[in-house]
């Protein structure tokens, strides 16, 4: 640890010295967070032998002339509950050098990349989920002309402190047609496409496995003054793996998205289908490990506490669904608009399994646009935002959802069945003075589960929640909250999950301390989810940017 400290200090000093002589500059950020875990039988915490978990990272980027050099140091001793324990350890998992000019960028080392919406390739870092699937290799971006972008890359993928056995090669191109013709008027029209090929040796002798798995995508996008339209199709050749139970079907993905917006009105419609599109850097990977691609979620990403009890996790193996979203602003001065106007949003989404019929031990047929008979998720929600005065605004929401708990949490095996829920949220914001504001958030969920589990289920039935947040600008933030599972099927699990938090912010630095209970559940970012067990204890974090 001391050695690392010296290395980091020396590196920073070196950067600082160069800073003076060559007029480069350094930027980055540092975050450290930890938790002291207490045993709490009331909420079913599991024993945490090390008692304290601390994890953190330092990002540093040095920019000089056309060059950028960067690194990230990470340490997990051990990782926080819910983050994969295989992260335990410390080191420099992210190092790179980049050269940039008008015509070409080259990167050697670690990098993140996304092709289109990510249907065949998306690498990213999401600390909340413990996901980092950065590539380690080479990347070249060309801009031969104003309307053309080309990218080529190859590399292996990060797997905790190792690299994948699979090697990823790919290229993409994007052309802005409106740069070359006036045919489209004011509209922006672009076409894109690309491919990825993954090589992984076949060392087993059961299947005739493809060692090179090829995938491509094609994309078209039109943006006008009052509408936009996107279509993206992807295809992946046969790619038998553990998660698709050695299916030799090829994979297909289709995203269609259209929206229309005028003064006060916004309407969007989405359709997507993903069939056998789970694409990983190794055939044997399961869980959130070594995913090469990403399907943008089709359901509204809710953020309120009780709306995050039953979030939908995108099923890369197969799903089909639609989403519709309408927002309307009632003008100020109108009957419903009042003095300041009123914003109404309505959103509906529905996701099913794909309709498929087995045609052999390793293949199936499926009708492209048919919805299967298993409903994975349905969500209808309304939100009304209204400002009543300069100092007071409110937001009220109602949601009604159907959630297939087995699909999202139990590997599709019938365990708990579906959850039917209705949620009401009232959110009040008062500005008490120029520097002080108070937010009050009241929520209630009515939930019923098809198969009632036993007393080890700490999350079911009705909940009520209240939260108060006091912000004293510019430095202080205080919050208290209580979530109460008063409707839990099992009397002993009708528990209060109280929590108090204090944060101090100055410049780019933030210190936070939280004490309380955290319920068990899944957390999702963009439809990618992971389970986090219940915990009680003291959480602290320090973050600074420079």
């Amino acid at each position: 640890m001391r050695y690392l400290f010296i290395v980091v200090t020396a590196a920073l000093t070196l950067f600082a010295v160069n800073n003076v002589t060559a007029q480069g500059y350094l930027s980055g950020n540092f975050v450290s967070e930890g938790q002291y875990y207490l045993q709490d039988s009331a909420i079913g915490t599991s024993e945490f032998p090390k008692q304290v978990a601390v994890q953190g990272f330092l990002n540093a980027r040095y920019h000089i002339n056309d060059f950028e050099f960067g690194m990230r140091y990470e340490a997990y001793r051990p990782p926080l509950l819910g983050i994969d324990t295989r992260f335990e350890g410390s080191g420099f998992p992210f190092l790179y050098g980049t050269y940039r000019s008008d015509l070409i960028d080259v990167t050697a080392g670690n990098f993140y990349e996304q092709f289109g919406s990510g249907l065949i390739l998306r690498t990213y870092e999401e600390k909340a989920l413990g996901i980092d699937n950065s590539l380690n290799g080479l990347r070249v971006n060309f801009r031969p002309d104003d309307g053309v972008e080309l990218t080529g890359l190859m590399g292996t993928m990060r797997e905790f402190w190792n690299q994948s056995e699979g090697i990823i090669r790919g290229a993409k191109a994007k052309i802005y047609l409106d740069e070359y013709t006036d045919l489209f008027g004011d509209n922006g029209v672009s076409l894109g496409g690309g491919f990825v090929s993954k090589y992984e040796a076949d060392n087993e002798n059961t299947y005739n496995l493809p060692e090179n798995v090829f995938a491509y995508y094609l994309r078209a996008s039109v943006i006008g003054n009052s509408y936009s339209f996107d279509a993206e199709y992807s295809n992946k050749i046969n790619d038998p793996s553990i998660v698709n139970s050695s299916s030799f079907n090829s994979g297909e993905g289709l995203l269609l998205s259209g929206s229309y917006f005028t003064d006060g009105l916004g309407v969007s419609l989405d359709f997507h289908r993903a069939d056998n599109m789970d694409f990983r850097a190794e055939r044997s990977a399961t869980g959130n490990i070594l995913n090469m691609n990403f399907i943008p979620p089709l359901t509204k990403q809710h953020t309120y506490r009780l709306t995050s009890l039953y979030p939908f996790a995108t099923q890369l193996v197969g799903e089909i669904g639609i989403q519709a979203d309408v927002t309307y602003k009632f003008e100020s001065g109108s009957f419903l608009g009042g003095e300041y106007g009123t914003l109404l949003s309505v959103n509906y989404s529905r996701v099913h399994n794909i309709d498929s019929t087995a045609t052999g031990e390793f293949t199936y047929d499926s009708d492209f646009f048919a919805f299967g008979d298993r409903l994975f998720y349905e969500d209808l929600n309304f939100e009304v935002s209204k400002r009543w005065s300069d100092d007071f605004k409110t937001k009220a929401s109602y949601l009604t959802q159907t959630y297939d708990k087995d699909v999202s949490e139990n590997g599709w095996a019938p365990t708990a069945g579906k959850v039917f829920s209705d949620i009401v949220i009232l959110d009040f914001n008062y500005r008490l003075s120029d520097d002080v504001s108070l937010k009050m958030d009241l929520e209630h969920i009515w939930a019923k589960q098809e198969i009632y589990p036993d007393a080890s289920d700490y999350v079911n039935g009705n909940w009520v929640m209240a939260m108060y947040e006091l912000t004293i600008s510019p430095n202080y933030f205080i919050s208290i909250s209580d979530e109460f599972n008063y409707g839990n099927e099992f009397a002993k699990n009708r528990v209060h999950y109280y929590s108090g938090s204090f944060a101090y912010v100055t410049g780019g630095t933030r210190l936070q301390m939280t004490y309380g209970r955290q319920r068990a559940g899944i957390i999702c970012v963009g439809g990618v989810c992971r389970f986090v067990p219940a915990s009680t204890g003291l959480y602290f974090s320090v973050g600074t940017t420079f």
């Binding site: 090929s197 095996a413 365990t415 198969i451």
Partner: protein, 276 residues
């Protein structure tokens, strides 16, 4: 000019594409087996809430069926948090001190299913996914064993006592680092098991690792060097715990290097011979 860039970029990152048509399975008749010079044990790390584990269970079973039950032995080691019963289901906790020890040492917290074939190294470790087991079994079948191994069980029906005699006939001089390890497995244990897309009620778990007669990583086999061509025997006494069903028990004995854990030879016997 633009075309040149396109060509350049494609040339830089050449791609290939292997579309596989039927047959999807490799032709087994083309695979040679070394006539099992050496026997093989598959340690199948498994768990009742592991969705892909039954696929691995079936693979292990299939390999034993295909290559001979006298050549390929299977041990189902239930471990990891996925092996913890969900109380809303009719599940049984099959984790044991021995299976937990094995998983802690070799499983390294990785997601199941995973397994080990004679605790042979593959890519610098011993655990690997079931797709690699077949090839590893074949590789092991070619290995020249350092000894032959036999197991004799002496047991009176109705009694809980078993005398286990292990005899090794050495083809090379014995190695002082060799341990003898004897595991007890039980067949036909019932518990709900998750499988891909379904919950299998009353799943039959065979070869479930119950405990070790010798400690998880074995005990010293020879006190003095045994010369090539000579034999060595060792006897162990074991009391069957009341909750085990004697007619379902099998004793799996193997000699392993205590430093590398690599399995040099393995044999097994049911307490009551199965009529196969």
């Amino acid at each position: 000019m633009k075309k040149i860039y396109l060509v350049l970029i494609t040339a830089l990152f050449v791609v290939s594409c292997d579309v596989v048509d039927e047959p999807y399975l490799q032709d087994k008749s083309t695979i040679e087996i070394g006539d099992f010079k050496k026997n093989v044990i598959i340690f199948d790390f498994t768990a009742i809430n592991c969705v892909y584990c039954p696929t691995a269970n079936r693979k292990a079973e299939e390999l034993s069926d295909e290559y001979g039950h006298e050549n390929v032995f299977v041990i189902g080691a239930h471990a990891s948090t996925l092996a913890k019963p969900k109380s809303e289901l009719n599940q049984v906790d099959f984790r044991t001190e021995t299976s937990n020890d094995l998983y802690d040492k070799f499983g390294q917290g990785e997601g199941l299913p995973l397994g080990m074939v004679n605790m042979r190294d593959i890519d610098g470790r011993k655990i690997t996914t079931f797709g690699n087991w077949d090839a590893m079994v074949i590789e092991e079948s070619y290995e020249e064993p350092e000894m032959n191994l036999a197991i004799e069980l002496t047991h009176t029906e109705g009694s809980q006592e078993v005398e286990i005699e292990i005899t090794a006939d050495y083809f090379t001089n014995s190695n002082p680092d060799d341990n003898i390890t004897i595991y007890v497995t039980e067949d036909s244990l019932i518990s709900d098991q998750k499988d891909v897309g379904v919950m299998v009620e009353d799943y039959v778990h065979n070869h479930v690792l119950r405990e070790s007669v010798t400690g998880t990583f074995g005990s010293q086999f020879t006190e003095t060097e045994i010369a090539s061509g000579d034999s060595h025997s060792k006897t162990f006494n074991y009391t069957i715990p009341a909750e085990y069903r004697a007619e379902k028990l099998r004793f799996v004995a193997f000699i392993q290097n205590k430093n590398t854990n690599y399995v040099k030879q393995v044999t097994a016997k049911y307490l009551y011979e199965k009529s196969e």
